[in-house]
């Protein structure tokens, strides 16, 4: 029987909504596919079912599976495999529906609504453009940071202008010690997460009551929880408090507990201070339960007591209560939470700073919108916010059916644990008005244990909450899958043993605390240990660790299947990669090798920069020192420095004059004879080609590819060029941003299909599976985040309301604000929880074997911010006494390598070992010659055709000429005799209109019309003109004639006027031109002849092809009037 059969069957009920917890390996994509098939079979339109995923990859996978199932359904017989058979049956129903409704999903799979959340938001924002307010032409971009920065700079510029904005900026800047960079970074960070605060700061004009209410609610919620937990012990507690209070009233009358001397019971949940005083009876300063109590807390010994009989009894009652406390799960944490609670009001000084901030934020957001509009680009948050806006509010939702042209009936959401509250809000609005059992359902699938995207605002609490409380009006039935179809049984057992304690005991949606759910094995156990731990001495070096990892890899590759090294941070690989390299292994590394860390790419950056900016001497010096050039120090000095040299001037002129430089060595001269001409030629032709082609061509001509130490690096170079191509504009006008983009790039994976070794971060590995997984460096500390300037937190209540808890930025040298401290505490909780989940995700990628590598902690316990610390409680005993399927290998300290400090540094810090000096380099031999030449020039681009010189005419004169020609054509059509003054006047509105439409002013229109008018008058009255217009045989106006040019191209010639008189073919062009001021007519005519002789000769030749009649060409100038026979 298939495991989880009931849950899986239930999940296909199209009438009900579900929230499914689907741990690693539980086959959730299969489940989603089946449900989607099931729902499609009942739909009027396939668009009624919407499936949202987290990544494009997942969306692609879903789509592939659905289409695969539909294809499977073409088989007449059901497949044997049970799961496949279910798919087949479900898909058969869909194909039947498809055929009946004529969907043709196989041909039009885009009708399947499977989208990433981002893509769906974009779709909504586009289709509901008005409601979303985005309009056209706003594209989301991965690189939106420069836009956020631009908005921030826009705002900060207000500092110099009068007004409230500037005042607020001044307050903040003063608070930040006038560190504008810090202010910028802070505001950019805030903008990047504006969905968390925008609603709150826009909610009311004065943010203070709003924000303080959130604080008050946090405090009262926590105290209420404590109140509830303590309810069974309330009476006893109250009694002990009274007892202590009475004692203290005598010994320490200032003690806060004294106020309870006559208290009837416990204080209300609205009184945090009083509760803190009470908890002091049970908690030590370190947050543990007291083991002892004495007169300082109000419990004197019998000898000290005024009431000796009571002393003993009460102490015993206290001990009993303490035991009860300790036995209540989660109570200790709760008590500590209460102690840590922040005050419910901001101190005025702090508020002043926060007030300035909250005043700036809405304005900042508004400026950002403008920046987006200007750039035609925005970030994904803008799209999501627009989509949300487009859906209206929950009370008055936009009628989607009306707008999307189909009724959305079912929504499925994958990886629901990683959705943000913004995305959840979207879900709420999409389902606003939905009711249980109305045929519309929501289906959430997620795994709290695999929530990894806290840094991207994922809020796992929302998913947990959806399993307890209705979402809007929809009740989601919680379902749990537990079968693991991926890992062999031994692994599963180990996971269940180890992770049970790594995860918190109870669920807490507000904090995103998820307890561990044990998995059930489907795959049988394999012989041999499933999990191994290589335990190194605490003094072992990273190199030793790397050797062990490499050995493990080799062994693993001897077995079948894919092998993965998973790390939390890329820098954990620093020693491992060389160790693998030494063993001749190759691997498939996604997002591991930084592009900008490799020398060939650095060299290309230098070349690019040098050609873009001759002022940059480092770039130019570098270009002369890289292997394709390789000048020695003395030659560099000869070229760039020396007596009297200006060390800031551009190098280019000195490079151009290299031949006259006596200080250069012979080798230097040989090199420069080759290199300098290339660089100078490249500089001379700058911006004649697209940036990438220009730089790449120069690089090739310099011998860049030939000078690669490792030809395999050509791939990196190509990646760099692709980046340069896509960011050419940025490279030109914003070099720092461009280099930052190169910095953030990773070398694309190289591997061949045979490569079975994969290296990646645990985050990247999410959703993948490997036969063997190796996780090294479990003992390395994570990034310390105790230096955040500003902390805030979005708190989503059970009711789905979102609250903003924000502490003002901290000022250097001042005590930490209690609210800030509380937020820091919460953040650190969250990251500890996420650490456990990260390790869980990493370990559960393994199907057959898992290897862990770490150094033994120096003290009893590993430092708190290591992955190891999370599993230590369960692991430590097993290290001494390994459980089934677990193997521990202890490595001895290697002799030579005593006590290297490796435990200390965090991920963020570098371990710099002093490197030996770099004494040698590589370069192309000075006499190297490239074996290439530019292509032979092809045919020249077609010459700008005749009349191109018209281009230089004033546009209006050109237009007047055209209008004149059109008038003459019309005149000939209607007959010159009918073109009297009245008829001509009727033409004037046309001229007027055309000239005005071209942008002419009234005066210009007048002048132009006067010219046309005069031209026409002359034409009609002048003898030549009348001759020209007369009805001659074989006449034509604006005659279009096709012919073949010398290149065999068909061309068309347009002849103004032509006719035949006495067996002579006349060809006449008229020109509405006049001599320039002061120009004699003869000179003008000669000039015109020169310009048009060639064109008319061509026409003549054309007519000569038609027949043998002699041809006569002429130019006619109606404004003079004058007929010029050529």
């Amino acid at each position: 029987m298939t495991p989880d059969r009931d849950a899986r069957r239930q999940a296909l009920d199209p009438q009900r909504s579900f929230a499914v917890a689907a741990p690693a390996g539980s086959g959730k994509t299969g489940l989603l596919t089946q449900r989607m098939l099931r729902l499609l079979a009942d739909c009027a339109q396939p668009e009624e079912v919407l499936c949202m995923t987290f990544t494009r990859k997942a969306a692609g996978e879903m789509r592939r599976r659905i289409l695969g199932a539909l294809e499977l359904a073409q088989q007449p017989q059901p497949p044997d495999d049970a799961f496949e058979r279910d798919n087949w049956e479900l898909a058969r129903a869909v194909t039947a529906r498809d055929a009946a409704a004529g969907w043709d999903l196989a041909s039009a799979p885009n009708r399947l609504q499977i989208h990433t959340i981002d893509a769906f938001c974009a779709l909504l924002a586009r289709q509901l453009a008005v409601e979303a307010g985005l309009g056209s032409g706003l594209a989301p971009s991965e690189n939106a940071e420069p836009l956020l920065r631009a908005a921030v700079r826009d705002l900060v510029a207000e500092l110099e202008h009068p007004g409230a904005t500037g005042d607020a900026l001044a307050v903040l800047l003063t608070h930040l010690d006038n560190n504008q960079s810090q202010l910028e970074d802070l505001l950019i960070r805030l903008l990047g997460k504006r969905e968390q605060w925008l609603g709150h700061v826009l909610a009311s004009r004065d943010a203070r009551p709003h924000l303080e209410a959130a604080l008050a609610e946090l405090v009262s919620d926590t105290l209420e929880q404590l109140h509830a937990e303590l309810a069974p012990m309330a009476a006893e507690l109250a009694e002990l408090v009274r007892y202590a209070a009475r004692n203290l009233a005598r010994t320490a009358p200032d003690d806060p507990l004294v106020q309870f001397t006559a208290a009837a019971g416990l204080p209300s949940p609205a009184m945090p201070e009083q509760w803190r005083a009470i908890l002091g009876l049970f908690l030590t300063g370190n947050g543990t339960f007291r083991k002892r109590i004495d007169k300082r807390q109000g419990f004197p010994t019998a000898r000290e007591s005024v009431d000796p009989e009571l002393a003993g009894t009460y102490k015993e009652r206290w001990i009993a209560l303490c035991e009860q406390f300790a036995a209540t799960p989660g109570l200790l944490e709760l008590c500590n939470d209460v102690v840590a609670l922040p005050p419910v009001a901001y101190p005025d000084a702090q508020w002043q700073v926060l007030a300035a901030l909250t005043q700036l934020l809405p304005e900042l957001a508004a400026r950002l919108d403008l920046v987006f509009q200007r750039a035609g680009e925005c970030d994904f948050t803008a799209i999501a916010l627009a989509a949300l806006r487009a859906l209206g509010d929950e009370d008055q939702p936009t009628d989607l059916a009306l707008r999307l042209d189909y009724r959305l009936r079912h929504i499925l959401v994958d990886e629901c644990q990683d959705t943000s509250s913004l995305q959840f809000a979207l879900l709420r609005r999409l389902t606003a008005g939905w009711q249980d059992g109305d045929g519309r359902t929501l289906f959430l699938v997620g795994d709290g244990m695999q929530s990894l995207y806290g840094f991207r605002n994922a809020n796992v609490g929302l998913f947990l909450d959806s399993r307890r409380h209705p979402l809007g009006d929809i009740h989601l039935t919680p379902l749990d899958l537990s079968a693991n179809f991926r890992s062999q049984e031994q692994l599963i057992l180990w996971f269940n043993r180890i992770f049970a304690t790594a995860f918190p005991a109870t669920e807490d949606p507000a904090r995103g605390a998820v307890p561990y759910a044990p998995a059930g094995a489907v795959r049988p156990p394999l012989p041999g240990a499933a999990v191994s731990a290589d335990v190194l001495p605490s003094t072992a070096s990273a190199t030793e660790e790397a050797e062990i990892v490499a050995t493990r890899v080799q062994a693993a590759l001897a077995e079948p299947g894919e092998v993965a090294i998973l790390v939390r941070g890329r820098n954990h690989l620093r020693e491992i990669l060389p160790a693998l390299y030494r063993r001749g292994l190759s691997w498939h590394a996604a997002d591991i090798d930084s592009l900008a860390g490799s020398m060939p790419v650095i060299d290309l950056l230098s070349l690019t920069r040098a050609l873009l900016c001759p002022t940059d001497r480092i770039a130019w010096l570098a270009v002369l020192r890289v292997p394709w050039c390789g000048l020695g120090h003395a030659d560099l000095l000869a070229l760039a420095g020396g007596a009297g040299a200006d060390l800031r001037a551009p190098l280019l002129p000195r490079l151009a004059a290299w031949a006259e430089n006596p200080a250069l060595s012979a080798a230097g001269r040989a090199i420069l004879a080759r290199v300098a001409p290339v660089l100078l030629a490249a500089w001379a032709e700058r911006w004649r080609k697209p940036l990438r082609i220009w730089i790449e061509g120069t690089w090739i001509a310099l011998g860049g590819p030939a000078a690669l130490l490792d030809p395999g690096n050509l791939r990196l170079c190509r990646q760099y060029f692709d980046l340069l191509e896509s960011a050419a504009d940025i490279a030109r006008s914003d070099w720092p941003t461009f280099t930052a983009r190169v910095q953030s790039g990773y070398a694309a994976p190289t591997a061949t299909p045979e490569t079975r070794l994969h290296i990646m971060t645990i985050h990247k590995a999410k959703g993948l599976e490997f036969a063997t997984v190796i996780i090294p460096a479990l003992d390395r500390k994570g990034r310390a985040d105790d230096r955040e300037l500003l902390r805030w937190r979005e708190r989503v209540t059970a009711a789905g309301d979102s609250h903003l808890l924000i502490a003002p930025p901290q000022r250097n040298g001042e005590a930490r604000d209690p609210l800030y401290t509380w937020l820091a505490r919460e953040d650190s909780f969250a990251s500890r929880l996420e650490d456990a989940r990260t390790l869980y995700v990493g370990c559960t990628r393994a199907a057959r074997r898992l290897h862990l590598v770490f150094r033994e902690p120096r003290k009893d316990n590993p430092p708190d911010n290591t992955l190891l610390a999370r599993i230590w409680p369960a692991l430590a005993p097993e290290l001494a006494q390994p459980g089934p399927g677990f193997e521990v290998i202890r490595h001895e300290a290697s002799a030579g390598d005593a006590a290297v400090e490796v435990d200390g540094p965090t991920d963020a810090e570098a371990e710099t070992a002093p490197a030996p000096p770099l004494s040698h380099g590589a370069r192309l031999p000075p006499d190297w010659r490239p074996a290439l030449a530019p292509p032979a020039p092809g045919p020249a681009p077609p010459a700008p055709g005749a009349g191109a010189d018209d281009d230089t005419d004033a546009p209006l004169a050109r237009l007047a000429g055209i209008l004149f020609h059109r008038a003459v054509r019309q005149l000939l059509r209607e007959g010159p005799e009918r073109w009297d003054a009245r008829r001509r006047a009727r033409q004037e509105p046309l001229w007027q209109g055309e000239l005005a439409a071209a942008g002419a002013t009234a005066a210009e229109v007048e002048t132009a019309i006067a010219r046309i008018r005069r031209g026409l008058e002359n034409l009609l009255t002048d003898a030549h003109g009348r001759w020209l217009l007369a009805d001659h045989p074989e006449g034509g106006a604006e005659w279009e004639m096709g012919y073949l040019d010398d290149n065999g191209q068909t061309r068309t010639a347009i002849v103004d006027r032509t006719f035949v008189i006495e067996e002579t073919r006349w060809i006449i062009d008229y020109k509405l031109a006049e001599p320039a001021a002061g120009e004699p007519q003869t000179q003008f005519v000669a000039r015109q002849r020169k310009s048009y002789a060639e064109q008319l000769a061509r026409y003549a030749a054309l007519f000569a092809r038609r027949d043998a009649r002699p041809v006569c060409t002429a130019l006619y100038f109606p404004l003079l009037p004058h007929l010029e026979i050529l």
Binding site: D104, G133, E160, I602, T615, K689, H920, G921, F1103
Partner: protein, 910 residues
């Protein structure tokens, strides 16, 4: 001569009879004209009348013009508005309409125009549109009356509206009724067009091009990039086999991927096109997509030059323009421009203003002793020209203004234009004409609004370089309509791309769009279109290859369903799309070069550095060589606000001023709190006044107030710490001293010298950043500054102007931590010879130095002297001796440290 691209069979008779043939685009019309001409020429005809074949819209325009030329009154009621003019009017209307989207008029103006166009083409009167509760349609309806009014006020109408006049013109006898019209290559014909055509022509004959008998094949490529490469390789092989064959390659997303496609085809068909001396050459193929004019170098420079006159612009833009060849005389001005860039960078402004640019140029010209000064004169003249212009004027006037402005600046520069650039220039002129035509709107924008519009227009204008007719055509799907090839490749045929996904117009009710089969409104309709497209393309050549990428990023794709049955074609993907680079890679035998040559520092070159020279030499001799003798310094990038250095200097200066009036600690202690604050404020003001000379924003207002408040807090804190020290007397401030270290002169400025109660001296260096103790020990000290102070004071007292110092023995050297942070450490951090003498200072011995000053000084003199000698010898070893190297990442391209491992491996290999 390439063979014609169309099959004339279905229209031959019509053409011969002089009947009208209409096509969906110019390309097909032109193709027919070509083919017809070649056919006639082949038959011996040498000149012929142009066949009557037009693109449909072009023909409509001709008819409209004929009616206007005939002074047909209904055709004279208005001119047809260009897209730019109409969009501008929409934007105006939308901005004035009280609605939520009024803040984004541009975004919605385009939408409104396209909605209007759709409605009219589908023969619906927009005014009678039933919004049906659709918000978008409601808005459109709300805008419509105002827009109509605006159009009427400018005497404008739409192209679609103009069509309705045509039948009337015919009725009036002004147009000749066509006996027949042949429509070729239309996938769909909007209803209005159909109606008008039926009105104007006796017979409307829709022709479907006859398919060639073909056996199309299907090729699957790994990803979109490989697909382009494979298509390019295929095209190259086809042409090698027969250079006269008509080859077509179709990319559905040609416009979006134009750059990559053009480059990859060039790489394979014209390898070496990028080499520096090859110049720009037209590609050996015709490519139907163009580039936005605004992105081409010439127009881009023009727009940027104009923008500089509009207000502050990012520094990067100024610098890019300074290196741009398209204005003034770049070749002759290289050094001046470079100098100006440095001037500009030294200002540390994120967005320098036009005035900054002008001054930088003027100063640079003055400094290079360039008496001509033509560059700054140009910029000066341009700025005056700009100043003289009125605040608001019409578009035509602004167009003139822009041209004049560019003329003054010498755009497009003194470098002679190649043919590509010449075409850009022509396009730019036409762009200005279109811009002038906006005058019809009657608006009088400001310069900045006008410029925005010009930029928009330039971004919307497509530039297509003229290229000679070539046998290889690279086309989008629409451009391929009706054409014929000898071999055709159709890329991008995945099921994610076809049928087109739905994207109904957001301003029109969906049901309406679906009912009327408007574009991309209905699934079944799109599917049918896609199928027809495939059928048509499959018959467009005797050999057709359809291709699709197996994956796009992380998404796996399949072929569009109707293609899946086709026989598979395997095509090689050219290994790399950089054939030349690939051929070269690793082809040469590299030689080893030992970086051992040591160019000694000659006297004439003698560098006069401060303590940082020795710090650099200690850290990495090569870096010191590069910085101090080659001038390898990073160009300053502006930081927001004051720079770290500026703020550090302010602190130094304010403290100097502060102690100028106070002889000793007693004097400080004697001041009442109020007097102390006042004294401090005066010192801060003095310091700020000095900096304000370069930083005008510090002259007053908030920036000054903020910095002043911060300094006040910091220095008050500092002075408080000073009061806690044992008594001292301030004997020197900002004391310049010079030291000769083994022949290397070192200039130093000691921030402060205190005399302690025992009469000995404490040398102080103010530090506002993070400091570490102990950087002063070892043969290569990380931070040799304080030891150098000590050597200077102890070694050459004669240098001191203040007599009092002569012979005064040294008590200690220390950094003064002038900063407020969370660290508990005290005011001073340094060394002294006696324990507990100076709070915060450990003893020499504790740092492992000789226990008394003379011995310690001797050791420093030896160690630092050795460093100085190293520098003078020219020693330039590449090594990381101290942490200071970590702060010199800008030198990595030069010292090549990242290559260390690779070089080692390479040397082991060879």
């Amino acid at each position: 001569m390439p063979a014609p691209l169309v099959d004339l069979a279905p229209i031959r008779a019509a053409l011969a009879a002089g009947e009208l043939v209409l096509t969906p685009n110019q390309r097909l019309a032109r193709g027919i004209e070509q083919a017809w001409g070649q056919e006639l020429a082949a038959a011996g005809t040498r000149v012929w009348e142009r066949p009557r074949v037009y693109a449909l819209e072009h023909w409509f325009e001709r008819m409209w013009q004929e009616l206007r030329d005939a002074a047909f009154a209904p055709a004279l009621t208005g001119t047809v508005a260009s897209a730019a003019v109409e969009t501008r009017l929409w934007a105006r209307v939308i901005a004035a309409h009280p609605d939520s989207v009024a803040g984004n008029p541009q975004g919605f103006a385009r939408l409104a125009r396209s909605a209007r166009q759709l409605l009219e083409r589908w023969d619906l009167d927009p005014a009678r549109l039933d919004a049906d509760g659709h918000r978008g349609a409601e808005l459109l309806l709300a805008w419509l009356p105002a827009w109509r009014k605006a159009m009427a006020a400018c005497a404008l109408l739409t192209r679609e509206q103009s069509l309705d006049v045509l039948p009337a013109g015919m009725a009036a006898g002004l147009l000749v009724r066509e006996p027949a019209v042949h429509l070729l290559g239309f996938a769909t014909l909007p209803p209005r067009y159909g109606r008008i055509l039926t009105g104007l022509c006796a017979r409307v004959i829709e022709l479907r091009p006859q398919g060639v008998d073909a056996s199309p094949r299907l090729a699957a490529l790994p990803d979109p990039a490989a697909e382009i490469a494979a298509a390019a390789g295929w095209a190259r092989d086809q042409l090698h086999a027969d250079p006269q064959r008509r080859i077509g390659v179709i990319f559905p997303d040609l416009t979006a991927n134009r750059t990559q496609i053009e480059r990859q085809f060039r790489d394979l068909l014209a390898p070496g096109h990028g080499l520096p001396d090859s110049g720009w050459q037209p590609p050996p193929f015709n490519l139907s997509a163009g580039v936005p004019l605004a992105e081409l170098p010439l127009p881009r420079a023009a727009l940027e030059l104009l923008a500089l006159a509009d207000g502050p612009a990012p520094l990067g833009l100024h610098c890019a323009l300074l290196q741009d060849p398209f204005w003034s005389d770049a070749a002759a001005e290289l050094e001046v421009r470079s100098r100006a860039e440095r001037q500009l960078r030294d200002l540390n402004r994120l967005a320098p203003a036009a005035g900054d640019f002008r001054h930088a140029l003027a100063r640079a010209e003055a400094a290079s002793g360039n008496p001509v000064g033509s560059l700054s004169r140009r910029v000066q003249a341009a700025s005056e020209h700009r100043r003289r212009a009125p605040t608001r004027q019409g578009f035509a006037a602004w167009a003139r203004h822009a041209s004049e402005h560019l003329d003054i600046l010498g755009w497009p520069g003194s470098r002679s234009l190649d043919s590509h650039e010449y075409q850009q220039l022509q396009h730019w002129r036409r762009l200005l004409d279109a811009f002038t035509a906006l005058a019809v709107t009657g608006e009088t924008p400001t310069w900045s609004e006008a410029l925005t519009e010009l930029r928009r227009l330039a971004a919307d204008t497509v530039f297509q370089p003229r290229t000679p007719e070539a046998p290889l055509q690279i086309l989008g799907v629409l451009e391929a309509a009706g054409l014929r090839f000898d071999a055709l490749w159709v890329a991008g045929m995945s099921d994610a791309r076809w049928p087109e996904s739905l994207a109904p117009h957001p301003l029109l009710p969906g049901p309406l769009q679906r009912r009327l089969a408007m574009p991309r409104a209905q699934g079944a309709h799109e599917l049918a279109l896609a199928r027809t497209l495939v059928t048509d393309l499959a018959g467009a050549a005797p050999a057709v290859i359809f291709s699709y990428p197996l994956r796009d990023g992380e998404v796996a794709l399949q072929a569009f369903a109707p293609l899946r049955e086709l026989p598979a074609q395997s095509v090689p993907v050219p290994a790399l799309d950089q054939p030349l680079a690939a051929a070269q890679a690793g082809a040469a035998v590299l030689e080893t070069i030992a970086w051992g040559d040591e160019p000694a520092c000659v006297a004439a070159e003698l560098v006069r550095g401060g303590s940082s020279l020795l710090r650099d030499q200690a850290a990495c001799p090569f870096n010191a060589f590069a910085i101090w003798r080659l001038g390898a310094r990073a160009l300053p990038e502006p930081e927001p606000g004051l720079t770290r250095a500026e703020r550090g200097n302010l602190v130094h200066r304010a403290l100097e001023l502060c102690w100028r009036e106070l002889p000793d600690q007693m004097a400080l202690l004697a001041l009442s709190p109020a007097a102390r604050a006042e004294h401090l404020a005066a010192a801060i003001n003095g310091a700020l006044d000095e900096l304000a000379r370069q930083r005008p924003e510090l002259r007053g207002g908030r920036p000054r107030a903020v910095e002043s408040a911060c300094l006040q807090r910091l220095l008050a804190h500092w002075l408080m710490l000073e009061t806690l020290r044992p008594p001292f007397q301030v004997v020197a401030r900002e004391q310049d001293v010079e030291l000769d270290l083994a022949g290397l002169p070192i200039r130093l400025r000691i921030d402060r010298i205190d005399r302690l109660a025992d009469g000995r001296l404490l040398l102080i260096d103010y530090k506002t950043g993070n400091v570490r103790a102990g950087g002063w020990v070892g043969a290569r000290p990380e931070e040799p500054q304080l030891p150098l102070y000590a050597l200077a004071v102890a070694g050459s007292p004669a240098d001191f102007s203040a007599d009092t110092l002569t012979g005064s023995p040294l008590a200690g050297i220390a950094f003064a931590r002038v900063r407020i942070d969370d660290k508990a450490s005290g005011a001073l951090l340094g060394i002294s010879d006696v324990a507990e003498l100076i709070p915060g200072c450990k003893t020499l011995a504790e740092y492992g130095l000789p226990a008394d000053w003379p011995a310690a000084l001797a050791q420093w003199r030896h160690d630092l002297g050795a460093l100085a000698q190293e520098f003078l010898h020219g020693t330039a070893t590449i090594a990381c001796h101290t942490r200071a190297v970590d702060n010199q990442t800008e030198l990595l391209p030069l010292n090549r440290l990242p290559e260390q491992d690779a070089i080692q491996r390479w040397r082991e290999r060879t």
